[in-house]
Every structure is written in structure tokens, then in C-alpha cells.
């Protein structure tokens, strides 16, 4: 698969605070983002022949019917949740390399009007809510403890990380603040006011050790990216963002991760990405040193630090010190991270904004452009398996 496909188009709706995209529907948002991504590439719906989705994938039959896609040749979805974000582009690439399709869209659309991800494991929610989880055999071993939202669960991993490695709240704050600084320069970002260290420490604690600013936003919106063969990509509007490598999956005993807490001790306090990272570097034929900018799925600040460790940008347990040294700051850090403002401060569209930003960095058109960036890493959420990642490079 290496170097044989490229991302050629990106598109997005405006980003909305949770529930504010109404009266548009989620699939309407998906359509707007898809059409925008095709237009960005210099293509139309007549060129589209595949769907490669992840997490809550929608009904592509209705979607294709709505848009009038002439010939649907591939429609598939990675299982799991936000872990599959970056990997959905790998799924598209696999289809293209296999000859099953030629022009594949990966799209995430999210509308949290009736319910919210923040309570997605609660045993009850708003009547008709999509994301609360009614009592289940496995949930029975978690919910009665009070763990009902992803942030509370990741707080348990963060607590262990602090205990093992001496990671501190100042380190979490550096992730939140550096990401906010990037968002402040972007018109599309929902959070653009200054976040100081004092403000971080004055914020209300949600679930120790995570405070308000360690949590990502809850949003509505859609983001789409279009992938095609490298040959076709070179004839299109923008310089191709070449898919060097993509991997998804993870250790079976990482499993459901935060919703079982039984992961082996050696990687309990991790992002669950270590095996995926290893395969990504193997496929790409490069290592972390080659990466100019990293778009790391940031639902919660400690998970950015754990991904820095798991992808080998620093040693295991050294992520806190790595961020404290200014490494993830744009523009002067050794590895600018989440230059778009991330899930924390730009918008939470379950990780597809990270893929979009990776493409824009490779094109050289990002708002917070890393000068001369030629290799960009995007990751899916540290979550139940599959987790995933994507390595893009310029075609130079």
C-alpha cells in the first residue's frame, strides 16, 4: 500500500457547539462535507465510487441515493469508535490498491442534539438518546462504580500514568495550553480565548485528575476527505498528500480498554497504540524522526502524552518531560502537535479534523503551517480497538 494512494480533497461544514447544527440532519452535514471535499480535489460526485467509514458509520445506501453516486463499488467501515479515524483513510487506500474502487470518501458526521458523548456509558439518559448505554453484562462491571463518561474512565488511566511516571497536571496543562494557542490563530476554532496556567488550575475539576480543560469539546459538524490512486492524484488540483502508511488494530487484550480496565499492566497506562505504531513505521520505512508535525487524537490531554510515548517520540514515561520542554509548541518545538487546535480547542469531529489538518500541512496551506513540513502523522483515538494511524508525505 505504501505510496500508492493519496488524499486529494478535504471538506468540512462549519463546526458547531453540541446540538447547534439543528435543523440540519447528520447525513445532510455529511453530504455537505463530501461535496466540499470532492470540489476541493477538482472532482464531483460522478467520480465518487467508494465509502470508507468508522465509528457510527451511517447508511451509505441512503447517502448514495441522495447524492446520486453513479456506481458504488466499495462501502465499508472500521469497527470500534473514534479509534478508527485516521485508519479510515487506510481502509480507503486498501480498497484502491486492491482495485475495488478508485475514488473513496472517508467522512465523519456528528450531531449531539439528542444526547451527548460525555455521558455515553450512562445507564440512562435523555429518552431516545443514542449514546447512553443501557445496563449490559459487561457494563455491569463498570457503571455501578459511577464511571459513565469517557473522561472519567480516561482519568483512571491518567491517575496510573501519574503514579508510574511522575507525569503532572502541569504536563496536562501544557497540552491544553499549546493546543489552545494554535486554535487562537484559527477562524474555524470554537475556543479562541487565551488559556493561561492560572485559568487551567482555577477550572473546575471534572474527574480527578482531569479538569475542564483536559476534556475535549462536544460538537456537531462533518469532515470528509477523498482518497484516490497516486497516478490520478497527480492530475488533480492540489499537490497530493501521499499515503505512506496506515495501520489499525491493537493488542486483543487491550480490547475494550476503558470499559473493562483489565488491560495488561505493561501497557495499562498507554494509549493502546504501541502495536499500531510499530506496524505504521514498518510500512512507512521511516521512524518518528521523520515526522514534521503530529496530529494526535486529543479527547483528553493525558492521552496526547501517552501517544507521544507510544509512537516513540520519547521514551515510555517521558512524555510529560517532553511536553514540558516545549517540544510540541508551534512553530519552534521539535514536533508541533495539533496545529489546528485539536479536539480540545478547534472542534471535536471524532478525529477527522486531524486528518484534514495533516493534508493541509503537507500541502503547505495550514493556518499554523510547519515550515517545510513533508511528513505528517495523524492518529485515531486512544480507545477500544481498533486504534489507528496514518502517515502522509508530500510528493516531492
Amino acid at each position: 500500500m505504501k505510496d500508492r494512494t493519496a488524499v486529494v480533497g478535504v471538506g468540512a461544514t462549519p463546526y458547531y457547539r453540541r446540538g447547534r447544527s439543528v435543523p440540519q440532519t447528520a447525513m445532510e452535514l455529511a453530504g455537505k462535507a463530501t461535496i466540499a471535499a470532492l470540489e476541493d480535489a477538482g472532482l464531483t460526485v460522478d467520480d465518487l465510487d467508494g465509502f470508507a467509514l468508522y465509528s457510527m458509520g451511517f447508511d451509505t445506501s441512503l447517502f448514495a441515493q441522495w447524492l446520486g453516486v453513479p456506481d458504488v463499488k466499495f462501502t465499508a467501515q472500521l469497527t470500534g469508535g473514534g479509534g478508527g479515524a485516521a485508519g479510515s483513510v487506510g481502509l480507503a487506500s486498501a480498497a484502491i490498491v486492491a482495485g475495488m474502487a478508485d475514488c473513496v470518501v472517508s467522512v465523519m458526521t456528528l450531531q449531539q442534539a439528542a444526547s451527548r458523548f460525555g455521558a455515553s456509558f450512562a445507564p440512562r439518559g435523555t429518552p431516545g438518546a443514542t449514546y447512553s448505554a443501557p445496563p449490559s453484562p459487561e457494563g455491569n462491571f463498570i457503571q455501578p462504580s459511577g464511571l459513565m463518561g469517557p473522561g472519567q474512565m480516561f482519568a483512571v488511566l491518567a491517575q496510573r500514568q501519574m503514579h508510574l511516571y511522575g507525569t503532572t497536571r502541569e504536563h496536562f496543562a501544557e497540552v491544553a495550553i499549546s493546543t489552545r494557542e494554535n486554535a487562537r490563530r484559527r477562524e474555524t476554532a470554537l475556543m479562541r480565548d487565551e488559556l493561561t496556567l492560572d485559568r487551567y488550575f482555577d477550572a473546575r475539576m471534572i474527574s480527578d485528575p482531569l479538569c475542564l480543560y483536559d476534556f475535549c469539546l462536544e460538537c456537531d459538524g462533518a469532515v470528509a476527505v477523498v482518497t484516490t490512486s497516486i497516478e490520478r492524484a497527480r492530475d488533480l488540483r492540489h499537490p497530493p498528500a501521499v499515503v505512506m502508511a496506515s495501520a489499525h488494530g491493537g493488542a486483543g487484550r487491550w480490547g475494550q480498554a476503558i470499559t473493562w480496565m483489565g488491560m495488561p499492566d505493561e501497557y495499562f497506562a498507554s494509549s493502546g497504540h504501541r502495536d499500531v505504531a510499530k506496524r505504521l513505521w514498518e510500512m512507512a520505512g521511516v521512524g518518528p524522526d521523520a515526522v514534521d508535525v503530529a496530529l494526535l487524537y486529543d479527547h483528553f490531554t493525558p492521552m496526547v502524552i501517552m501517544q507521544l510515548e507510544d509512537y516513540g517520540f520519547c521514551g515510555i514515561g517521558e512524555g510529560g518531560a517532553f511536553v514540558a520542554d516545549g517540544n510540541i509548541r508551534w512553530p519552534n518545538g521539535s514536533l508541533p502537535v495539533n496545529t489546528h487546535g485539536g479536539n480540545l480547542s478547534e472542534a471535536y469531529i471524532i478525529g477527522m479534523t486531524h486528518v484534514k489538518e495533516a493534508v493541509e500541512q503537507i500541502r503547505g496551506t495550514a493556518v499554523n503551517q510547519v515550515e517545510g513540513a513533508t511528513v505528517a502523522l495523524a492518529t485515531g483515538g486512544p480507545a477500544s480497538i481498533p486504534t489507528s494511524s496514518l502517515l502522509l508525505r508530500s510528493d516531492r
Binding site: A122, L147, G149, V156, R160, G262, D265
Partner: protein, 143 residues
């Protein structure tokens, strides 16, 4: 019915056992902590499931455990993600590792424990929370 200090209100605690998990809850209703162990290789599996992740055998025996363990990690829940839990906050949600089980961990409320006394590595002992007739869930007190 007894409720230790620091548990969820009964209204949000509902069990939905299946064939694999029901023996666990039948035992807790009698204030006994039992864990499923593979009859072929002796590996504990938790939560209860259809297969041994080590040898893939299906049969288990239910082995009693005294419920003394160690706090592996925790969080202090201070914000109500659903209104029903607001009056119960703050709550300590803990992960307790049980010795002699190959690393079985229970996720449970840490009860009758002051917030500033919570720390990873502390010994924990079992406390029962009788939610309603026929429903009892395990909790832990730090000692």
C-alpha cells in the same frame, strides 16, 4: 439493605446479567465474591466470558475470593454527567486488583473512605452494597 458511604443511588444501578455473568451476581446477592477460573489451565477470566483467553477452553469453576486487594488506580468523580448522580457526588471510582488471580481487577466504588486518603497501592477490603432485594454489588474500603 445496607448502603456504605460513597455509592451511586439505587435508581441508576441495574444489572442485566447473561449466562456468563449471572453466577457472579447470584453469589454477590449472598455476599460472596466468586471469580470464574478456567478448568483446563487455571486462568482467571474477568469479566466472565465464553472463552479462556489463554487456552480457549470454555468451562469454568467459580472460585471464592476473600476480596482483599490493592488499589490499582482511581478517579474522584466531581461532576454529574447525568442529573441522577448529582446528590451522590463526590464519588471515588476505583480499580482494585485482586492478588492470586493473575491480575483480575474489579472496578468499584471506594466507600467509607476520605477523599484525601485515596492513593494507588493502598490495601482494599470488600464492602457489600445491597442495592435492592436480590441485587448486591461489591465495593471496597481502603485500609
Amino acid at each position: 439493605m445496607s448502603a456504605p458511604r460513597g455509592v451511586l443511588p439505587p435508581d441508576v444501578v441495574w444489572l442485566a446479567p447473561n449466562v456468563f455473568t449471572e453466577p457472579f451476581w447470584l453469589a454477590t446477592a449472598e455476599h460472596r465474591l466468586t471469580l470464574p477460573r478456567c478448568t483446563s489451565c487455571g486462568t482467571y477470566r474477568f469479566p466472565p466470558s465464553a472463552f479462556c483467553f489463554h487456552c480457549r477452553a470454555q468451562a469454568v469453576e467459580w472460585v471464592e475470593h476473600d476480596g482483599t486487594g490493592t488499589l490499582y488506580s482511581f478517579t474522584i468523580i466531581r461532576h454529574a454527567v447525568i442529573p441522577d448522580v448529582a446528590d451522590a457526588l463526590p464519588l471515588i471510582a476505583g480499580v482494585v486488583e485482586l492478588p492470586g488471580t493473575g491480575g483480575v481487577r474489579l472496578v468499584a466504588s471506594i466507600v467509607d473512605t476520605d477523599l484525601d486518603a485515596v492513593a494507588i497501592g493502598k490495601p482494599a477490603e470488600l464492602v457489600w452494597y445491597d442495592v435492592r432485594e436480590g441485587t448486591t454489588i461489591p465495593c471496597f474500603r481502603l485500609v
